[in-house]
Symmetry: C2
Subunit: 337 residues, 2 copies
């Protein structure tokens, strides 16, 4: 067990302090989100509200605010960037759920099952465009560059996942490349954009970019572990979705490698050909626990969280935002949903 895991074990991980520090800013971000999801076309706010009004934790905009304030931002340009980050995230969720035919999202029926896939695609486009309108208002060409690039990298990651995710010979390296693009890039860009909006020097900007990326990797690794270990009422989505879709995430790749030839027919049938009974998912979970595949995934997440926290050494320990951001790294690993 490394330092990060020990830290997680020694105190109840929570982002309460971060939420307290950011309360005023996040109220402003929330108001912006509510205002900018409006449209004279009624389906748009209805569908957007279904997703945005639900139980999302808003970790990404929180990261933008925290980075900006940690770097001493005095104005509110970061609020618009934070709202833009949440819109980009929401747009990708809408498109992902269409792509994956997901049934649940944030504890609610997925939007495309209520309004149809076409509406989800187009409202995603609307939110994506709104994000860029907000960035233009924020007035930072550097932030626009960061978030335009991130949007492109996310799309590349999603396509890579789409074309490779069912490949049981996927290497751990390609898996990490996928989650780095589809998840960690937006965390990285969210943090970097916050730093940029504060006029932070290059080193701080880079440090926060790396922090966001490491937290994002930890977050996605835990997400992939929770799909085998979580409970649906806590997750807000069905556990086992990845297994049913035959998605080659790290817990699965490790379990397959560690169970070897004796279990190969089981994995080929259930994951490759997706011929599954209800009992198969339980068996997959047991194999993951028995081989330590879930624990290894969580350990890797803890390593990234530890790296994220170490990267904040760049900033004064007296700055209250620094420990609050360290909590965020711990939270990414310890969360149950």
């Amino acid at each position: 067990m490394d330092a990060a895991s020990a830290a997680v074990a020694s105190k109840p991980p929570s982002i309460d302090e971060l939420i307290r520090l950011a309360r005023g800013d996040m109220a402003g971000v929330d108001a912006l989100i509510r205002e900018r999801m409006q449209s004279p076309v009624p389906v748009i706010p209805a569908l957007a509200d279904h997703l945005i009004g639900s139980s999302g934790k808003r970790l990404r905009p929180l990261l933008t605010i925290a980075s900006a304030r940690l770097c001493g931002a005095r104005d509110d340009a970061c609020l618009k960037l934070a709202a833009a980050v949440e819109f980009i995230h929401t747009a990708t969720l809408l498109h992902d759920d269409v792509v994956d035919s997901s049934e649940l999202r944030r504890g609610r029926v997925a939007a495309h099952l209520i309004w149809g896939a076409p509406s989800s695609v187009l409202v995603g486009d609307f939110l994506f465009a709104r994000a860029f309108e907000l960035m233009v208002e924020a007035g930072s060409m550097a932030a626009l560059e960061i978030l335009a690039r991130a949007s492109r990298v996310i799309a590349e990651g999603e396509v890579l996942q789409l074309t490779r995710a069912h490949d049981l010979d996927l290497s751990q390296e390609t898996y990490l490349q996928i989650i780095r693009a589809k998840t960690a890039e937006l965390f990285a860009a969210a943090a970097e954009a916050g730093a940029v909006s504060a006029g932070a020097p290059r080193e701080q900007r880079q440090a926060l970019r790396r922090f966001g990326q490491d937290v994002g990797l930890a977050f996605q690794l835990v997400d992939d572990a929770l799909d085998y270990s979580g409970a649906s009422e806590v997750l807000g989505k069905n556990p086992g979705d990845d297994f049913r879709e035959g998605k080659a995430t790290l817990p699965l790749l490790l379990a397959m490698a560690r169970t070897g030839a004796p279990e190969e027919p089981f994995w080929r049938r259930t994951v490759d050909r997706r011929e599954q009974t209800d009992a198969d998912f339980q068996r997959a979970r047991e194999l993951m626990r028995a081989t330590g595949a879930l624990q290894s995934t969580l350990d890797l997440a803890a390593d990234y969280a530890a790296a994220a926290k170490a990267g904040l050494a760049e900033f004064s320990a007296a700055n209250p935002w620094r420990p609050a951001m360290e909590d965020l790294a711990d939270f990414a690993v310890s969360r149950r949903a």
Copy 2:
């Protein structure tokens, strides 16, 4: 017949001169498009090339170049904006074809039928993000504002069309609102962004925005007429798609209004309930010709083209780009595909 129609009749409408003037710039735009549709994820350039490499006329980037040069642009910032405009257009085509389940696009099998709807959605997102990366490189916050807003308005128009397009009680006003948003807005933004990149004064910028909008309206009206009067080998898509989908375009709205009560059962069955035989489309075409619904649609298009040309009075007639752009307005009306 008004002035525009007379002009169309008196000379063979062609954009050859515009294409000749813009040849060097458009070669640069093409090179940018080829370069920026690349990605390490192989599906992305393959799918993008399927659409971009086909017979598209590139009217929108041509409009950006023409506007910029008409306003005296001396540098090549407009090339990046023109490529961005084409990427936004291509992204909306990819998403539209998924939304409409279209089978043909630009004379080829629609991309989603080859690579699947998920790839089309995600490659659309990639191209959209690439467009913003190009705009950032062009370095004009004003152009970014124009094209971000346009992207949002297009999405709103698409959603409005999705929710209202099968409403046979659609007013002509709502129909025009839909095509203004989903089609004319990008033409308007393409022209305005070109003017902005040239540092044009406000009046010229507004004049070119209106020009683009009017040409865009004419273009879409003709598109909707061609869906009832065109031949598939010329169109590059199947005529009758709108009829089969029960899409309430102007020719249909006018034909229904003009045929009145006697034909109401025919329209209710074929368009509302979409119970159609092969002969029904032929009958719809005949009713459209007999009632003058097609001609009225084309007349309205000619009116917009005339307004577009009149708006160029702001510019010197000695500037070779002005008559070339007037040709574009005529071409939008007279085209057969």
